[in-house]
Point group: C2
Chain length 523, copies 2
């Protein structure tokens, strides 16, 4: 058995049976091996940024790693943006990158590059195999490394000769998960004392704290102590909707975020870090919490978040208190103008139970969370690392992970163009994805940021650089070119009809929502 | 004047007046400054891989750097693939990457990343500005660094506060070019002795040796000495066609390349390195030259190539010998089946004088060079670093550089999908680009490489991973969605008609060539 087959079989034995890939010559032995291992599903992506984003979406929904298979440093380069988001989402991914044969590397052939340099910033674990005999052990180690905790990208670099040379049998040992560290009792006590102090307090949560169980516990703690419960602006996955405990969201813009925490004396941080501005602005501090606010890190992302919340609840006697759960409350279908709010209302009225939302709505996305709060239970996936071009790929991977659920990608037009090739993979795999494109023909967020960083009102050149209407991008033809049926909507009624059509279709569809946007602050 | 304006003005003062960009919040002050500096042209790209490829194409045609303006580490990540190609092409680029404000970096905000780690492998020079006061000097140094020699990517990382803080006046000092090193006389003598030896010899050339003057000198040397003259498989720019000295091309596949040099005793390397296999294969050596062949490096890429060729010609008395120049010889228009050969014939029959060809034809591109040898004089731009998704962006940048010339992108379908957003920029800028898409619905090269690396005939899963027909990609709709008119051709006659139409149009157009491909070796 050669190195590639031992690699593929070790992956499958370790539960990694889905591979998002855009392979090249150096990865052909992996592809050949996959043909001999029926358990390995290979999902072809026309661009590596789709593969990395899809692996992220897959892991957010399954909690287990998919593999990515990429072509040398340049293929990894194309994947970096969405790996950056996955890195910030703390998800497990086994990232396999082919390389030139060990004996070919020194010759600096055209495709030679510093793969490890590209891999390190987004990986928690990097290893270059130097012999086919090391392949099974290295593959097994990569799976274990990917699980962390926290979940992380484990990059395994596989020179071509290590894939075609004779190797050992694949590993069959169980994959060991090191487990989340338990939080020291003194930390629980410190947070409990803060909550008992009577001073204004808030829990700031992300990651596993935002699953149903964590939200339930936090709500009990809030109801007992009077603390507010807030989630990060961008989270890997938020379970929400009817039957779940609702949560405030930290505003995106730094001054609004600072305002939202004004007066808070104790910030109890759960599965995230003390909040900082997404960007820096002249005259604004980086830190969002008030200077006199004490930050209590209850549980880091590598610690047992749910256990810590349970113990905190018990410590303040909140375990006997009922949580506040969201009632089912769908709004009526909207009428008239199609704008971010009417899109949100229509979505809330129509989205099926257990929908998975991949949200890259950017400036158009602001009304989404408030209006969909009372929708049936669903999962919300955010852009975690701020790198755009995530929405369609993450939705694609989530749909591969959850074929029985409806995925809805809420995608701004500008960011959607970065990784638009995801539509093709959705069609190839017949994934039940509803893609809603917010078409405002602009990088609208940049016009806002231009002023906020002190650039003043955008001049003609800046305005031109933020405009996507020259030429106008026709998303109906664009989707159709990749086998995805699409409809256009310019009124709220048209949008609801198109959304209803899309949600009933088998396979991917796209709705181009020609939205009107008024002043940002009104959104 | 703030740091951003001082940066932009220093760039313009140094001759860098074109910026291919996809900016974000961190780069808004640059955008605002560009509005105050009319000389700076900003070309918006919907994806950073288009920007980096366009800067490469621009520099190949002008010899001077364009700027790229990218958003943090993730924007740079998206640009890496085509920067890798530009790095291999030894072209100058001033690559400006925004970063968080210096005082914000330590907070590890979501978009924080190791920008320098991504930049170093593709840059010859990297500097992070730490104060707005350093901006003019750093910008000036970046321009000089980009010129080399050899030309290289100079990456200037600009934290946001260094763009909005008060800076100094822009620099107006002339940009100094260090100049190419002159080759030692003993090296000229060594090469001359080899040519006089009467043993079989060849010149292997790339970079500036492939401009008209270098080709002319090499042809004289060949005619005097009997040496063959060969270019690398992939070159930044080859001047060819009627009136220029023709040149052999090194075959792509290692065993054919090895065969082509069989019997050569002296390989005189000019503006490139001793040849190595593009990939490694089981049982094949990395080095292409025969073991008993002596390699003479006449001129490295940072040395004065033309001067070295002149002196070599003089040393062997070739300066009085006439070169062999290509006659104008267009083939008749082809008829019948549309295949790579008929595309090449049609192109040779119709391409205008001084066309610029951006060639990413991959498996369909093999017949292009032989059939277009006698076309009117033109420039040929190759994929230099082996990273796909270069063809459309490089053609886009070349068209920005040379508005009076016709650019023809010969683009395979699979690789074209990586950076298809280039079409939008072509339409936005009304560039005279003819995009020919070789539509074979496959990553055909991979099916070939699958066998060559020892994977045998592709099995069903591999075949599926190489197929682009599920769903079929409709390039007419795809181009139309981004404002590029397109026509489809399925016969040689239809292709010639569509090509003729495209070559007459103002602005970009696209021809989808539905080609039939027979056995690779016959191509």
């Amino acid at each position: 058995m050669n190195g590639a087959e031992s690699l593929v079989r070790t992956l499958v034995n370790g539960g990694v049976d889905t591979c998002f890939t855009n392979p090249g010559t150096s990865e052909m032995q992996f592809v050949a091996a996959a043909d001999r291992v029926p358990e390995m599903r290979c999902v072809l992506c026309l661009f590596e940024g789709v593969a990395s984003g899809a692996a992220d979406g897959y892991a957010r929904m399954t909690g287990t790693p998919a593999a990515t298979l990429l072509h040398l440093g340049v293929g990894l380069g194309n994947a970096i943006s969405n790996f950056h988001n996955a890195f910030r989402a703390n998800v497990p991914i086994v990232n396999i990158v082919g390389d030139h044969a060990t004996w070919h590397r020194k010759h600096d052939a055209p495709l030679g590059s510093h793969i490890e340099a590209y891999a390190r910033p987004i990986s928690g674990w990097v290893r270059t195999v130097e012999s086919a005999l090391d392949m099974p052990e290295a593959a097994h180690a990569a799976i274990e490394a990917s699980l962390g905790p926290p979940g992380q990208i484990a990059t395994l670099i596989t020179p071509a000769d290590c894939t075609w040379d004779e190797s050992d049998e694949p590993m069959t040992d169980p994959v060991l998960f090191r487990g989340f560290r338990s939080v020291d009792e003194r930390i629980i006590e410190g947070a409990a004392a803060a909550l008992r102090s009577g001073q204004p307090a808030a829990l700031l949560m992300s990651n596993f704290a935002l699953r149903t169980k964590g939200l339930d516990l936090a709500s009990r703690i809030a109801n007992k102590s009077g603390a507010r419960v807030i989630c990060d602006t961008f989270n890997p996955r938020l379970e929400r909707g009817a039957g779940r405990a609702p949560i405030e969201r930290m505003p995106y813009f730094a001054e609004q975020a600072i305002q939202s925490l004004a007066g808070i004396k104790h910030l109890i941080v759960v599965g995230t870090k003390a909040p900082v501005g997404f960007f820096a602005y002249p005259g604004l501090p980086s830190e969002i919490a008030p200077p006199d606010c004490k930050v209590h890190v209850l549980a880091r992302v590598d610690e047992n978040i749910i256990d810590a919340l349970k113990r905190l609840a018990a410590a303040i006697g909140a375990d006997k208190v009922a949580p506040t759960l969201q009632e089912l409350k769908r709004p009526p279908l909207p009428a008239g103008e199609l704008n971010p709010e009417s899109v949100a209302r229509s979505l809330a009225a129509l989205m099926p139970e257990h929908s998975i939302i991949s949200d890259e709505g950017v400036s158009a996305g602001l009304p989404l969370l408030p209006f969909t709060a009372g929708a049936p239970p669903h999962d919300w996936l955010f852009g975690t690392g701020g790198s755009v071009g995530q929405g369609l790929p993450v939705g694609t991977g989530a749909a591969v992970a959850c074929p029985d659920r409806r995925v809805i990608c809420l995608q701004a037009d500008g960011s959607g163009m970065y990784t638009v090739q995801a539509l093709w993979t959705q069609a190839r795999e017949s994934l039940n994805v509803t893609n809603v494109i917010y078409k405002n023909n602009a990088y609208r967020i940049l016009a806002i940021e231009h002023e906020r960083v002190g650039g003043g009102k955008p001049g003609p050149k800046a305005t031109d650089l933020f405009a996507l209407d020259n030429p106008d991008i026709d998303w109906i033809r664009l989707a159709g070119s990749m086998g995805v049926p699409a409809r256009r909507a310019a009124t709220a009624e048209e949008f609801s009809a198109a959304l209803a059509w899309s949600l009933e279709e088998e396979g991917p569809t796209l709705v181009e929502a020609a939205i009107v946007q008024h002043d940002m602050s009104a959104a």
